[in-house]
């Protein structure tokens, strides 16, 4: 299936691939061509005091968020390198924002990263891209074939490791569900 068709069907997809940002703007932040720039900055989690700063002086995280701010009006929002540029707190904030943009504003979201861990818990479909062609796709995060192309998230690795001998844990991507399951298995 083509990426466009996958987006129409699933709304939020994750692509395992290298992402090269085309955001290479220079000059002051306030001079960027962004509609209602203060509001856009706030939405992506940036303070408006960066408006008078040079883009070159921003941290990697701030530049990443600024790039997202320039894309908020697009119908399809393509972002990449979340794992490289953001810390945990930022990633969690951005993931909630992307879900909101999809659910409330009908935006289609594409997240590109070599590292599945940064997005596996919010996407509906994972696509592996090589030389611009889809070579594998899945919606099952416990699908072993997926991990020929990317490292397995630790929670999945842990559950698979336990179940290899004991088959006592349910397949989940939620650490609190896992805790409940471990608690149950220890109190039988």
């Amino acid at each position: 299936m083509e990426i466009k068709d996958l987006l129409d069907k699933y709304g939020i997809i994750g692509i395992i691939s290298t992402y090269k940002s085309s955001f290479n703007q220079t000059g002051l932040v306030k001079d960027l061509n962004i509609n209602n720039i203060s509001k856009a900055l706030k939405i992506v989690g940036l303070e408006s005091d960066i408006l008078n700063m040079n883009i070159e002086d921003l941290t990697i995280k701030e530049k990443w968020k600024l790039e997202l701010a320039t894309k908020l009006n697009n119908k399809i929002i393509i972002i990449g390198n979340m794992s490289k540029c953001l810390n945990y707190k930022d990633k969690e904030y951005i993931k909630k924002l992307l879900i909101k943009l999809h659910d409330n504003f009908n935006k289609k979201i594409v997240i590109i990263d070599n590292n599945i861990k940064s997005f596996f818990d919010i996407v509906k479909r994972i696509v592996v891209l090589k030389n611009k062609k889809v070579i594998y796709e899945s919606s099952d995060f416990y699908d072993d074939n997926l991990y020929k192309y990317t490292e397995m998230p630790e929670i999945i690795d842990f559950i698979k490791y336990v179940n290899r001998d004991k088959k006592i844990l349910k397949e989940t991507t939620d650490i609190y569900e896992l805790i409940k399951d471990i608690f149950r298995s220890n109190h039988k």
Partner: protein, 148 residues
């Protein structure tokens, strides 16, 4: 300076690299053979996306050759590959020490926006539920403790 270090930076900028300008800078898609002749290496998000075991294997090869290394990353899973951990915010050290000791500071790390490595987070939660008594840094020991 310790020889086996991970640095996690909350607000990564290039100034932090200037502090370690005498280290050989390694970015993604490197060949380990190209590093074995260096004295000091700094990985700059270069190990991101590799499994912990692969990272440990790479660092073990450097250790064999007595090469000092720093892994500058924002992936907290990678901190389990080294014995010493430094947390920076911009150019300031917020917390540093033996990796296990730093990871015990769960509240401090979370307050500054960092996650814990999965197995450490799981250990903390299981400890809160009274299922285990200490923190574990690898799944094998934790599983042995839970279902011994």
């Amino acid at each position: 300076m310790e020889t086996d270090v991970t640095i996690v930076s909350i607000n990564l900028n290039n100034k932090i690299l200037e502090k370690y300008s005498d280290y050989f800078l390694v970015e993604r898609n490197f060949k380990i053979e190209d590093l074995l002749s260096k004295d000091k290496i700094i990985f700059y998000n270069a190990l991101n996306g590799l499994s912990l075991q692969k990272i440990k294997d790479i660092l073990a090869r450097l250790k064999e050759k007595n090469i000092k290394y720093i892994n500058l990353t924002n992936d907290m899973e990678e901190v389990l590959a080294t014995n010493y951990l430094i947390i920076y915010d911009k150019n300031k050290i917020l917390i540093e020490g033996k990796t296990l000791e730093v990871l015990k500071e769960e509240k401090v790390l979370k307050r500054i926006g960092l996650e814990l490595p999965f197995i450490v987070e799981l250990s903390h939660l299981l400890k809160d539920y009274g299922l285990i008594d200490e923190l574990y840094l690898d799944k094998e020991s934790l599983v042995d403790e839970l279902w011994k």
